[in-house]
Symmetry: D2
Subunit: 357 residues, 4 copies
């Protein structure tokens, strides 16, 4: 019997070898690895401290000029679970961009879409297809897919903002196109025109010919976001209220591939734990508090950034009034019919406390 | 030959009589009346003077109480071309509603959708499905199809607003449903909550589950409209800029059957003449000027209202900075693929000047 | 007191006279007439017998040539409730078109959209924007808004079909445009090309650039409709099954303004009574039976046509297997958020039997 | 100077080390690798010969039972450019499934959506949410996201079909959910009901409540596809015509994440070379011919499968009339605004001929 079994095993081994030799693979040996009952993200919940990141940004500015080829002085969140890839999650690029006084970053365009959320400084602008968009802390500036864009710091202080891109997704789809602009900076045709045209409250120019997948409004001002959060929080008894930045032509997410949200937390109360298919990257704009992700406690303060992988349990609690900006891949999952969320019945038990390296 | 012709004529007469007796009608005798080369609206360009309308509204308030059955103290624009119907155009109801100090108009709901554009007074509110919407001059308040609504003047001065409804369309479709509320006034659950929830600038509550055909934002404040007009006018070199009020969830018109716009005219310049399929009713909110409709000159000032029938040539010219509110049936025509517009090459020649009765 | 009352009445009379003189109308005297609790259609349920209509069509062909200006030899259903208008319902035109052997009807285009449902004859075609669409009994041919179309009977027998148009709606919107083609007949570029391109079962040419409000498929063949009805009836235990003709690019109704359906009735069973907002016109393609509309019984056989006004209770019962073609305004009501339907709890009591004049 | 440079280099090294230690990465050192001017797919153009694959499928059936956990007897195309992943392209899973006489594969559901394209055998069926869908060669059967499905071969011959899934995409999004059915086979409620309900030619059940992202039609029969291809080819003078399988409720792709097409090639003519963003997997259903991908010539015959990576130049030429089934990620790219295509001006030069291992 043994020899039969051995024969059989030999035959099977030969079979698997022949399969592999023909660039085929059996499904049955890996079915449940490929398709587990629930997502098992390789990205890890992680947090980057502003007090560590900011000095590195500044050091970089002394050591590394901004040049064609490199294009931008940007430090990207590299999730330790993602095998050395410079991605915050499998679908999201998160990074900090530093522009010293008077510096500029050259004009180009690419199919990945980007957002800029301003952390520090003012007097800089991003020019998007000829419209210079002024940037002050808390502002969200869009550079949608395939729009020419360059950045300029016209002030005498450093500017730092958070860059969010759908780049990992566009790379995964083998759909990256890139083009440097013939000039270092594109000509400025207008300044903040998108706000004047599309920045009304539920009004649009009658001449608008609704089209684009991306928002024609390029700058979402902090003063407006702040006012809308205050109004919404006044209306709600929940520990948190969340706004989504939308394309005013469609009410859909500002970029078709990337969601942007701002969450305002009251001090004290803990939000209910929720799991969501799809990942997110948070940047603390204001306040201090704690987020629990799958039982791990992350303490945060202004400028800190952290990652919420897919289907992890998440809740937030603020020690003082706090505002958390975030990007996510939810628009993508919703378009594909893959979004789901679940609320946990009970608060998470905190198992440990995250200590960044 | 004559008798043959006569015979033939008799036969034809008998044929037409038989056709009529069977409740049939030949097309061929009326093809081009039914389908002319271009629209020949029976509605006439017309203007109602505020100095005539307002006193009548006030007289009405002394003579006629607001009661169940009558429901509202409203004087409707009755286009002289529409055979005595109480309609401004074949698709649009336009009217002025007067609510004396302390008065209220009872709660009901109906399938026709309505908008209220405030002309005069403050301290009144319209409650829409439990949300009390405060009303001040220049505000636009929606009462979408089949929403409970009632009006209350809590001030000690009269309130007057313009009512715009899609009622003629809904009547033509035999789709009017109406229900009086069991109470004279519905309970007020919230006050201006729709503004706090949906009144952000291109931000929406993340919890919004996009649904409705109608806007969840019920009150479009004049201060916001004014600011958006100012920004747009600053951006534009045209004699006029026009904003469209939209549903923030979709970017489409605030009501699915009725368009609402505000046009700001610079003093001096005359707009280019345009023809549009579909009709509109204008109410002058601010300023003085002239509109030419198919060669007839209409002079207007604050509170005046006038009708633009389908496919008439129209241009405007303001003597002083002016704001014109208008309603139209364009959302309807666009949904049905029937909208068109044409710009005239040359300014219209003014043939005569309109003098209201 | 009397004199006071009289004074007051005089004052009121003067007020109403002044209101009327200024082309205004009070709402309160007519609120509930304008907005009754439920639709009170002025169109009446009505039936036209084929045995009366067909001979008239034939007589017409002997007396009246088809000429420019008249354009078509068509007898239209003129609903007795609609004050002499040549309309079947307030939104629907229904008519029978007769084309003698060898005759043709000249090419033109208009914004009202039309459908042709073939009753009798074969060997004719309708050319739509250059594509000649062959017509045999049971076929549905579209001539969408603003498409050039002309008809040609290439056979030696008469052709009769039912014409359904959204014309009353387009007239009500003052949006009729019409243009005669420079030639009597447009050149034929292709024959039945729309079927070859868009007539697959849930397949479309990969090169299709989805666009139009109207279906690019112009001819829905009876053999396909028949097969689909048979399959659906095999699947269903209901007394009736109904198919809707759709635009294969969108799954929406074949024309944006006009719904087309085919209902197959089993012999014997009575359908459940239903009310629907919006009206319909039925043409009996095959079989005999009875329809009850608001308690009035209409007996029908092949070629008979009848009208179902808005919100009337309707049920059908076939004496033998029957197929009813119908057009309706439901796409319009659905787009505007005005469609509703209600199922009655109990079968209608039959009060009387309709006898056409 | 040297020491200065050395110092500077040391400083830079320390900086990069500190950056890495904090789980950050500089963008500037890798900008153009991450974002090249055009896609540089790591997936390679590749072909698998049916004469090699089929025997392996059969050998597998003798060696490997179908069991829970393994779930399916499937050999997956493993693109040699994808580092050992069992994926045909970065977004597409392509595989061959073998079901011996009388065998069945257990019921489960998962968020990745799948299609089955039948290569060989008949008398098997896939049950999808209770509807048993019969399978014969050339049929396309859908098992949309999260639908219960199991397979059964009721015949006495082997069944082989091609499995196409969006699994790599759903894995990349960390959005895989999987659930085994409590029973080995789900109960069969209906047989081919989806065809009877939704298989009409541009007709739909009137009772359809349009909803789903995925097609309610589950089986696209070869006889229909064949007829539609023949009609389309008759209409076209091109060397190839291509049909897209669509959701009859929306006209959009049958699955929201996966496109399915069938291309019919005339013998002799070479198609124009085209590049498309996004990848595809082809399966030869019928005929022999040649495909050139980025200058490499792939000769193919029935059952062969090959991969077209993103933005590679592709043209086809058939030696005899041929039908190529394919799956692609185009619906995904289109939803995200990332789809583009370019036609090459000149035919590709053939540099070499592909020889599979």
């Amino acid at each position: 019997m043994e020899s039969l079994a051995t024969d059989s095993q030999h035959e099977l081994d030969r079979f698997y070898a022949d399969v592999a030799a023909l660039d085929l693979q059996p499904l049955w040996t890996q079915t449940r690895n490929l398709m587990p009952n629930e997502p098992r993200p390789s990205a890890r919940p992680w947090l980057w401290r502003w007090q560590a990141v900011r000095p590195l940004c500044a050091r970089g500015s002394e050591l590394v000029p901004i040049e064609r080829g490199g294009e931008r002085r940007v430090l990207a969140l590299s999730n330790p679970g993602l095998s050395g890839l410079p991605f915050a999650t499998p679908t999201l690029w998160g990074a900090f961009q530093y522009l010293g006084p008077g510096e500029s970053a050259p004009a180009h365009r690419h199919t990945p879409g980007a957002i800029r959320f301003v952390i520090e400084g003012e007097g800089a602008w991003t020019t998007v297809d000829g419209d210079a968009c002024d940037m002050t802390p808390g502002d969200l500036v869009l550079t949608p897919s395939w729009c020419w864009h360059d950045h300029k710091n016209g002030s005498d202080r450093a500017m730092i903002w958070f860059d969010g891109l759908d780049m990992p997704t566009v790379i995964a789809l083998d759909a990256v196109f890139f083009e440097p602009h013939p000039e270092a900076s594109q000509p400025i045709a207008t300044r903040n025109a998108s706000e004047r045209r599309y920045g009304g409250r539920a009004t649009l120019p009658a001449s608008t010919t609704s089209s684009g997948a991306s928002s024609p409004l390029l700058n979402y001002r902090w003063r407006d976001t702040d006012a809308a959060l205050a109004a919404l929080a006044g209306e709600s008894g929940e520990p948190a209220v969340t706004l989504r930045y939308v394309n005013p032509l469609t009410g859909e997410s500002a970029l078709p591939t990337l969601g942007c949200e701002m969450t305002r937390l009251r001090a004290g109360a803990r939000t209910r734990s929720t799991r969501r298919a799809g990942s997110a990257v948070y940047v603390v704009f204001r306040g201090r508090g704690t987020t629990v992700i799958d039982g791990v406690r992350f303490d945060w303060g202004p400028g800190d950034s952290f990652v919420v992988p897919s289907w992890t349990a998440v809740d937030h609690q603020a020690d003082e009034p706090a505002d958390l900006f975030s990007i996510d891949d939810r628009p993508l999952l919703e378009k594909l019919g893959l979004f789901r969320e679940a609320r946990l019945d009970a608060p998470q038990t905190i198992r440990e406390r995250f200590r960044p390296r």
